[in-house]
């Protein structure tokens, strides 16, 4: 006997405020804010230094560390941080040595890291809980303890950027001139890619490693269209990130969609809108006055 299908009634609170009574929702919102701050600051440096490719490489190579975590039964996030930092330093070094011609080698490191992760996970016995969350992100499953880790990473990033601001600005704008001033350009560059690695691993938990680059670069890229000062760009990019993650979170909750992909789609649409708006504005301003 077949029972008539019951309409599934899932409680869908209409507003974010209603949803916020859930702990996981509060955590998700907080995670979105913490990650957006890091993305706004570091993403700005990624965009102005044109090192999006390296950042993508770091994100994928970090998967090797996740595999390591599963295989040796420790929290994969620590593996990801370690692998991310090592690959960041490796890629940063290659970039420095080859001056923009290191993309092949960086691509290889990107692939090897990822492959190591996949193989190690193959070797891992039993159920691999939560593996998908590293690939596609799971902002709704961020535990409170991870929030503290994110908060810590944010503090490290803000402190280092504040302390090394004039140097990092100088090596981004004109590394040759910075060298003639006897700045330790190479070491500073490695500090920068190290910070990118920390940010990337953090963002990975929200949108997954495949889409890390989007959340890292889209807010900063939009900000660069409207702001002509690095600090202002960082602030705007952080605010944009916060609004994208919050909007994406709400939409994914409301319509039961994958949260990471929804956040990225919101960001991507905002980017295209900004691009169109900017082009329109430029055309208006270049038109001869009547």
């Amino acid at each position: 006997m077949v029972l008539p299908r019951q309409p599934t009634t899932i409680l869908h609170p209409a507003t974010m405020l209603d949803a916020l009574q859930f702990d996981f929702m509060q955590n998700a919102l907080m995670a979105g804010i913490l990650v957006s701050i890091a993305c706004g600051i570091i993403g700005t440096f990624v965009v102005v230094n044109r090192i999006v490719f390296i950042s993508g490489g770091i994100a994928h190579a970090a998967y090797g560390g996740i595999g390591l975590g599963y295989f040796f039964q420790f929290n994969p996030i620590w593996g990801a941080i370690a692998f991310g930092l090592i690959s960041a330093l490796g890629m940063g070094w290659v970039e420095q040595q080859t001056k923009q011609r290191g993309d092949t080698l960086i691509g290889v490191m990107w692939a090897i890291g990822m492959a190591i992760g996949i193989i190690l996970i193959d070797f891992t016995e039993g159920y691999k809980a939560g593996l998908e969350s590293y690939l596609f992100g799971s902002i709704l499953a961020v535990p409170r303890s991870d929030l503290w880790l994110m908060f810590g990473v944010d503090c490290v990033i803000i402190a280092l950027i504040a302390l090394l601001y004039k140097e990092l600005l100088a090596i981004s704008f004109d590394p040759v001139f910075a060298t003639t001033r006897n700045l330790p350009v190479r070491s500073l560059y490695l500090v920068l890619v190290g910070l990118i690695a920390l940010t990337v691993v953090m963002v990975m938990q929200i949108v997954g490693l495949i889409m890390v680059i989007a959340l890292l670069t889209i807010p900063a890229a939009i900000a660069s269209q409207w702001q002509k000062k690095i600090t202002a760009m960082m602030g705007l990019a952080s605010l944009l990130g916060i609004s994208f993650t919050t909007t994406g979170l709400w939409l994914s909750y409301r319509f039961n969609l994958t949260s990471g992909a929804t956040i990225i789609l919101v960001s991507g649409i905002a980017y295209l809108l900004s691009l169109g708006l900017k082009a329109y504005g430029d055309r208006q301003s270049t038109q001869p006055e009547a």
Partner: protein, 267 residues
């Protein structure tokens, strides 16, 4: 006279294909030296050697009697302006601030003295009212002035310029040369250029570089220098020279253009 830059038997490039061969150069304090030469003749490499960005294969380089990595602190380097720089979100004053980098330790902020010197440098190049403008909104000539201000902010003894007038129109070129002439009263200037005309009317001494350097502590460019440097398409480079810098020949020809072609014929 004090020697501020000294190169002795400097070879640079790759062992099999040297870019610089046996360069000997002593630049005196308060000189204004212009280096000309064809593309690929080693101008950029020489500049990199002086800044310690390229290690010479052989020979010694001294800046104010110090090895380059020490001596370059006294060099205010003015790079060629690039279109790419326009995209960078930065304001004029922040660029000029970078001239102060070597004076402030890591982790320290720029202080009041830095701000004063930066302001003074902006005044010197005539950009005092544009300190808060984004670099992307400036013209080529203005950006070149900003880079000169950045170099000045480092309180240099030597100004080293890479094609300072490469991407600006002739009116702006002259104003930049006038500025350099003024600055030359208190500092040594070395300038790389392909613009023979301007070089000859503003500089005090000229060198011709094509792997080897021809330099005679003089602003006269001899036909031999030109021939050996450019292998003789002299008409082309001599076109539009505002001042006569080539020595008279016995035939007494007065037109500079004609003059050079004839000097080639002699060869």
């Amino acid at each position: 006279m004090e020697t501020v830059i000294s190169l002795e038997r400097v070879w640079a490039g790759y062992p099999k294909t040297p870019v610089l061969e046996d360069i000997n150069l002593q630049v005196q304090a308060l000189d204004f030296i212009g280096l000309i030469g064809p593309n690929g003749g080693g101008k950029t490499t020489l500049l990199k050697v002086l800044l310690g960005l390229v290690q010479p294969q052989r020979g010694t380089v001294k800046i104010l009697d110090r090895p380059v990595t020490q001596g370059r602190r006294y060099i205010g380097y003015v790079p060629q302006i690039l279109e790419l720089d326009r995209d960078f979100p930065i304001q004029v004053r922040d660029v000029v601030n970078m001239g102060r980098l070597g004076k402030r330790k890591l982790f320290h902020r720029y202080n009041r003295k830095d701000r004063e010197i930066v302001q003074r440098s902006l005044v010197q190049v005539g950009m005092a009212d544009k300190g808060d403008r984004p670099i992307g909104e400036l013209s080529g000539g203005e950006r070149q002035r900003v880079y000169i201000a950045r170099a000045l902010a480092s309180e240099p003894k030597i100004l080293l310029l890479d094609e300072p007038t490469a991407n600006v129109d002739s009116h702006v070129q002259n104003s930049i040369y006038e500025l350099l002439k003024e600055l030359n009263q208190s500092m040594t200037i070395m300038m790389i250029s392909h613009d023979l005309g301007a070089i000859s009317s503003y500089v005090k001494t000229v060198g011709c570089l094509n792997r080897r350097l021809h330099y005679h502590h003089d602003r006269l460019i001899t036909p031999t220098m030109i021939e050996e440097t450019y292998q003789c398409p002299v008409d082309l480079i001599a076109h539009g020279i505002p001042h006569r810098v080539f020595p008279d020949h016995a035939d007494g020809s007065s037109s500079p253009t004609h003059h050079h072609s004839s000097s080639c014929d002699h060869a």
